[in-house]
């Protein structure tokens, strides 16, 4: 499959799914660098315009990841489809930025309402796993269309640090992205590196970058993340300095350097367990050893 994909990469048409971190816990507290959500949002809007300007076949989809939920903010393919419909004729078509901003406001309100029902610790993290799965589902739909699909990629603009409890879900998404050869690019606007996204871009062949000056986000987006998959073969792009490969354990979601791995299902644990909580395999060492010896004797 991968060979077929790379063979098809002879053009620069791309479908970009942008995952935007709109987590209020991140944007609300962040004042030190002076990079406000408003500025951030402006930069992204112009970036979307740029992508759509590059080719008439380019598609941009924006997914907002909030604290408790995620939603589609904008889909260039869908909007264009309805705009040419007869029903909208009398109305002046709204500009792209107003549409996105309105959607975002709606989402933030809903997100706020949903959050109050959750435990306070749980909901502080951005919903990366949810939005990644949403993006992948959407890309599957693009890929299954009968017309030759554009080259899909995911761009994740994350601010809040990784949520340990999402480890398994995020890793699963990463591997499915790898299977459909969808690169995951990551742009970290927060202060901490994201181990999840480092691994994601490493595994899927995307670009991971944490801009040293988030205020200049737009320039980073243009210089690095606007590059389509075809041109990536020819341009100098930032290479990741190092990837944090550490895994999280399945039992307490802690990031660990060394741990126990189930020999049957490869689940990871920080402590020794008698039985695997995922597949139920029995780890009783003495019994196991005897069993293995019995057939030979």
């Amino acid at each position: 499959m991968s060979s077929a994909m790379s063979a098809a990469r002879s053009d620069d048409v791309s479908a970009v799914v942008i995952l935007l971190d709109v987590n209020p816990y991140f944007w609300g507290t962040k004042t030190s660098t002076g990079f406000t959500f408003e500025q951030f949002f402006q930069h992204v809007l112009v970036f979307i315009n740029c992508i759509l300007l590059l080719s008439h076949l380019n598609q941009v989809t924006v997914i907002a990841m909030g604290a408790s939920a995620c939603t589609f903010l904008y889909d260039s393919a869908a909007i264009d489809g309805t705009a040419s419909g007869r029903s909208k004729r009398d109305k002046q078509p709204e500009s792209r930025s107003t549409t996105i901003t309105q959607k975002l406001q709606e989402f933030v309100k809903k997100d706020e309402a949903a959050e109050t029902n959750l435990a306070p610790v749980e909901n502080q993290f951005s919903n990366l796993s949810g939005s990644l799965s949403m993006a992948l589902c959407y890309i599957q739909r693009i890929l299954r269309k009968p017309t030759a699909p554009p080259q899909p990629r995911i761009l994740c603009v994350q601010g809040f640090p990784d949520a340990p409890q999402q480890y398994i879900a995020v890793m699963n998404s990463i591997f499915s992205a790898q299977r459909c050869s969808v690169p995951i690019d990551a742009c970290i606007v927060g202060s901490q590196h994201s181990a999840f996204l480092q691994q994601a871009s490493h595994i899927t062949g995307g670009i991971y970058m944490k801009p040293p000056q988030p205020e200049g986000l737009f320039q980073y987006l243009m210089m690095v993340f606007a590059t389509d998959l075809y041109s990536r073969q020819f341009l100098q792009l930032p290479r990741s300095a190092g990837v944090d490969f550490r895994a999280s354990c399945f039992c307490h979601k802690r990031t660990i350097d060394m741990g126990f791995v189930c020999s049957v299902c490869l689940s990871i644990f920080c402590k020794h367990h008698k039985a695997c909580s995922t597949c139920g395999a029995n780890f009783n060492v003495k019994k196991g050893g005897q069993k293995r010896k019995q057939p030979s004797s």
Binding site: L57, S84, R89, P93
Partner: protein
């Protein structure tokens, strides 16, 4: 389809050929800027994006660092292209520097920040416009385009003309070299290029005509810069919306009528005003400007294929279209025609007639597979291998004999002289045939001078004949 690329690139070449003042004038409208941007090679597009917010001139060295060392060639192509189209301007101070064309830069920045609406005002909804449905518009465009092509085909068939001749279209075809009048005032006949033209896909055909149209524009009294600007802009119009004709300049209004003949726009007349509705053909025109749009070219008009090719060389075409039938007739022997079905066979004779009018085997096979019936199109390969191989074999049959002009040498005085001459001919790579027992050989024509000198030097007693 690479041909679309070649042709549309030629069009941009033409744009690049405009004098700088005209180009700058063209860049005054941000629609043309966008269209030009989209026509650039992928790398160049990204470079524009990177330079967009840079107001200083950038040394060419730092631009070079953007590309990987292996991709310097692509980099150079991109830079050259941008320079030609005056997207970037060269400045020579201490070293070569590039600066973005300020006119274009301003327009593009504007385009980015306000994001797009339609380039011209849509007719307000209160004016009683009866807009055609998308399907109607597609049929209209297709019909218009078919009638254009029929003009070409009808001049090929000796029968009574199928459609009444449209002189504008015929003139275009003549300019493109697709039609040729042997005698003045006699009915023009189709040329070899014309035959090949028929087998191209719609987009390439359209491009070729538009190109001729633009290059002929100056003679017809239209400013080519203005025309190109309008054509580029047309791609950004919303398909199926009505735009007022009155808002255009007078020369462009005339142009619209001619574009309507090609099916690019549909003209409608109201009580006072007139408006035009761009069709899919128009939007695809600019779409194929970008280098990467082969994917869409196959179904420009959403036309469904209708051809089924069987392994026994029979061709079934479920069509009532005269054009399709005429095109099929170019390379297949038609056996019967039913109201919605044409049955033919690919025979050696029919294919050979096609070859003799300059159509290649590859063109026939691509045509058959591009217009395959949806049921067949899913199959791999679309055209049965036996058929496609046979067509290729027939083609190579024609090329089996190669004609070369040559000189024939004989009457060598001795075997030694013959041997040395023979060896000499072999060493310079011109030997075509030898006959040692009768001491004769044949050498390529272009080496005759060299051979003659050599033979003369060999004791001078050599005979030769042309």
């Amino acid at each position: 389809m690479p041909r679309v690329r070649v042709i549309s690139r030629n069009f941009m070449e033409m744009v690049a050929g405009l004098p700088p003042a005209k180009l700058d004038l063209l860049y005054k409208r941000h629609w043309t800027c966008q269209a030009v941007l989209r026509s650039l090679p992928p790398l160049a597009k990204l470079y524009v994006m990177r330079l967009l917010y840079v107001e200083e001139a950038v040394p060419s060295k730092s631009l070079q660092d953007w590309a990987l060392p292996d991709a310097q060639q692509k980099h150079q192509v991109a830079i050259n292209r941008m320079e030609k189209l005056r997207v970037i301007l060269v400045e020579r101070k201490k070293e070569v520097c590039y600066r973005m064309n300020p006119v274009m830069q301003k327009q593009l920045l504007q385009a980015l920040s306000i994001s797009k609406g339609p380039p011209r005002d849509v007719m307000p909804g209160n004016v009683a416009v009866r807009l055609p449905t998308p399907a109607e518009l597609d049929t209209y465009a297709m019909k218009q385009w078919e009638s254009v092509l029929l003009q070409l085909v009808s001049s090929a068939s000796s029968e009574a003309p199928i459609v009444s001749p449209n002189f504008f279209v015929i003139d275009m075809f003549k300019l493109a070299g697709l039609l040729l009048s042997l005698k003045p005032n006699s009915a023009p006949s189709i040329t070899d290029t014309g035959f090949q033209f028929l087998l191209m896909d719609t987009n390439s055909q359209l491009w070729q005509l538009v190109q001729v149209y633009v290059s002929a524009a100056e003679d017809r009294g239209t400013d080519s810069g203005e025309l190109i600007g309008f054509l580029l802009e047309l791609g950004f119009h919303t398909v199926g919306e009505a735009y007022s004709v009155g808002a255009l300049t007078t020369p462009l209004q005339k142009v619209l009528e001619e574009l309507a003949a090609l099916g690019l726009v549909q003209l409608q007349k109201g009580m006072k005003e007139q408006w035009y509705i761009p069709t899919k053909l128009a939007s695809n025109l600019s779409a194929s400007l970008s280098e990467s749009s082969d994917m869409q070219s196959s179904e420009v008009l959403g036309t469904q294929g209708c051809i089924v090719v069987e392994t026994n060389f029979r061709v079934y075409a479920y069509t009532a279209s005269k054009l399709q039938t005429e095109i099929l007739r170019r390379f297949a022997r038609l056996e019967y025609q039913l109201p919605n079905l044409v049955v033919g066979a690919l025979t050696k004779e029919s294919i050979n007639t096609a070859f003799s009018s300059g159509i290649s085997a590859e063109q026939i096979i691509t045509y058959l597979s591009k217009h395959a019936h949806p049921h067949v199109a899913k199959r791999m390969p679309v055209v049965p291998e036996t058929v496609s191989d046979q067509i290729r074999l027939w083609e190579s049959d024609r090329n089996r004999v190669e004609l070369l002009s040559a000189y024939f040498y004989d009457d060598f005085p001795s075997t030694e002289v013959y041997e040395t001459v023979l060896n000499h001919a072999r060493s310079i790579g011109g030997l075509l045939w030898e006959d040692a027992s009768n001491r004769r050989l044949v050498v390529r024509e272009e080496l005759h001078g060299d051979m003659r000198l050599f033979i003369r030097r060999q004791s001078g007693a050599a005979g030769q004949r042309g």
